[in-house]
């Protein structure tokens, strides 16, 4: 969980050009300074590439917090492993 959160944080930092950005599992994407919905799409594709996963429309629609994205990565990895 910690590793995935660190990876997601890194992706968000690169995306928003802010290497000091701090997020937690409870951070809402909409509350991140300068965030817009396009950033979510870019972040999701970056996460997909990093973990070799593919998310569905339904998955993306329910992403509200950073924790939702981290949970989704775990869920998809578990499915792939099974």
């Amino acid at each position: 969980m910690v590793d995935v959160l660190a990876d997601v944080t890194g992706i968000l930092r690169d995306l928003l050009h802010d290497q000091n950005l701090q997020v937690t599992l409870q951070t809402r994407f909409g509350d991140i300074a300068g965030w817009d919905s396009m950033d979510l799409i870019t972040a999701v594709v970056e996460v997909e590439c990093l973990y070799d996963l593919q998310f569905d429309l339904q998955d993306i629609d329910r992403l509200v917090t950073v924790g939702d994205l981290v949970d989704l990565v775990f869920f998809k990895r578990t499915l792939t492993a099974a």
């Binding site: 050009h17 817009d36 799409i41 870019t42 999701v44 594709v45 429309l57 993306i60």
Partner: protein
């Protein structure tokens, strides 16, 4: 039947609530059946053709969804449904030339969203009543909000308790009354001002042109957000939570921010079902070929193309006039400049400047949106830039009163709390404060009903 007309307020609304309350004495399922019947009656009052199209579309989608349930290829079923929906929309909106059936865009988009979710494994409803009420609930038919399947559907498919709750009735009434006031006291009086100015576009000078543009942007906002408050209120009265459609859009600090606050349910629908899938496909395709994520080609393909397609959809949603297409192009340009500025890490403007600049963009585009032809839009924009003469300050006190009224409306737009906040304050009040809120809302309702005599249609009906 607009919500701010006497037949609705004195006839349909009491019938709707009384029927729901009586059915609630039997069961929650009886309430659902009553709401469905009321929704179909609402369509039939608009025209028998509206009822036939709504009922046919809802029944057809339900059968399609049942077919998807046991199919190994649900995506193909969904694709067939969406093609049929787009053909129906295009046929009714663009080819027949007449007024489209009531709520066509809204119930069709809601159902397209459902098809797309179900194609990816979302649960298919078992009861026709639940599905039909979700797709055709009458408060959402005139101007939305477009219901999101994942968030909106569960409250229609769960078993309802039955009796209407006094707290819901109170909150719903407060929403409805505040929406009615926005519509009849703030938006409607601006209609003749706007109509008269746009009709004389060729003779407008600088100040009257700005006055007309400002009046239209305020009329559109209060009209549409007032309608949304009324729709939310009607849902709340029977225990349903409809999503917010506005979040103080004229306080947006960028055009990107503006689209996240204006007609939120439609923006979200298009983002979820058009913009995001298209962008992701392009991004995945580029990544699979090892293309870089920056540069002009990346910006063109992953940003400009999806934004242009999405704004074209927004334009076509409103109709087939060239003014809507240009409106879409203008907003495409604003959004791309905004995105490019962010990517280039341009400095952020102070709040007042960014709000003013955003509103200016929205205002110019709204002139094109309101105009009936491109030449008319061009004349008003020319006048706003002073190309049709500066004119002179009027000595007519009515002109000054009009200007003061516009200033007051801007004050409301920028300083007043959101309707949901006011309703929350009223609901939390106790004792003497609660009585005060009750009396205030009662007076407001009376004022709204008195003012609504002779009111026009909602601007958003035609879409």
């Amino acid at each position: 039947m607009p919500f701010s007309t006497l037949p609705f307020l004195a006839g349909f609304l009491p019938l709707f609530i009384t029927g729901a309350a009586l059915c609630g004495r039997f069961s929650g399922q009886a309430v659902k059946l009553w709401l469905l019947a009321a929704s179909m009656l609402f369509c039939w009052i608009a025209s028998p053709w509206s009822l036939a199209v709504a009922a046919g579309s809802i029944a057809g989608h339900f059968l399609l969804l049942r077919g998807m349930a046991g199919s190994p290829c649900p995506g193909r079923w969904a694709a067939c449904g969406i093609v049929a929906d787009v053909m129906l929309l295009a046929g009714c909106k663009f080819l027949t030339g007449g007024t489209p059936p009531l709520g066509l865009s809204f119930f069709t988009f809601t159902q397209i969203g459902y098809l797309l979710f179900c194609a990816q494994g979302f649960e298919i409803p078992r009861r026709f009543t639940d599905y039909a009420l979700f797709a055709g609930f009458f408060p959402c038919l005139l101007a939305g909000p477009v219901l999101n399947t994942r968030e909106g559907l569960p409250q229609f498919t769960t078993d309802w308790a039955g009796p209407l709750q006094p707290d819901n009735l109170w909150r719903g009434s407060a929403f409805f009354v505040l929406g009615l006031l926005k519509k009849v006291l703030l938006a409607d009086p601006l209609a003749p001002v706007v109509a008269s100015a746009f009709a004389q576009a060729d003779s407008l000078t600088l100040l009257p042109a700005w006055h007309a543009a400002a009046a239209y942007s305020l009329q559109l906002y209060f009209d549409f957000s007032g309608y949304t408050d009324m729709a939310i209120g009607l849902g709340c009265m029977v225990g349903l939570t409809l999503p917010d459609n506005f979040d103080q859009p004229y306080r947006a600090r960028s055009v990107i921010d503006y689209w996240q606050r204006w007609h939120i349910s439609l923006t979200r629908f298009l983002m979820t079902h058009l913009h995001a899938p298209l962008t992701m496909r392009i991004m995945r395709w580029r990544r699979s070929r090892g293309r870089c994520t920056g540069g002009l080609s990346a910006f063109t393909l992953t940003m400009a193309l999806p934004v242009a397609v999405t704004m074209l959809a927004v334009a076509l949603w409103h109709g087939d006039r060239w003014t809507y297409i240009v409106f879409g192009l203008l907003h495409t340009g604003f959004l791309l400049i905004n995105h490019a500025w962010r990517q280039a890490r341009g400095p952020a403007l102070p709040a007042t400047q960014s709000i003013a600049l955003t509103y200016l963009c929205v205002l110019f585009a709204s002139v094109v949106f309101r105009a009936e032809t491109l030449p008319q839009a061009g004349m008003i924009l020319d006048a706003m830039l002073g190309r049709q003469g500066v004119g002179h300050l009027s000595s007519d006190p009515r002109a000054w009163a009009d200007a003061a009224w516009i200033a007051a409306l801007y004050g409301i737009v920028h300083l007043a709390p959101a309707t949901r906040q006011i309703v929350a304050w009223a609901a939390q009040a106790g004792g003497a404060q609660a009585r005060g809120w009750g009396i205030t809302l009662g007076c407001a309702a009376t004022l709204g009903i008195l003012a609504c005599c002779g009111t026009g249609e909602f601007l958003y009906f035609r879409f």
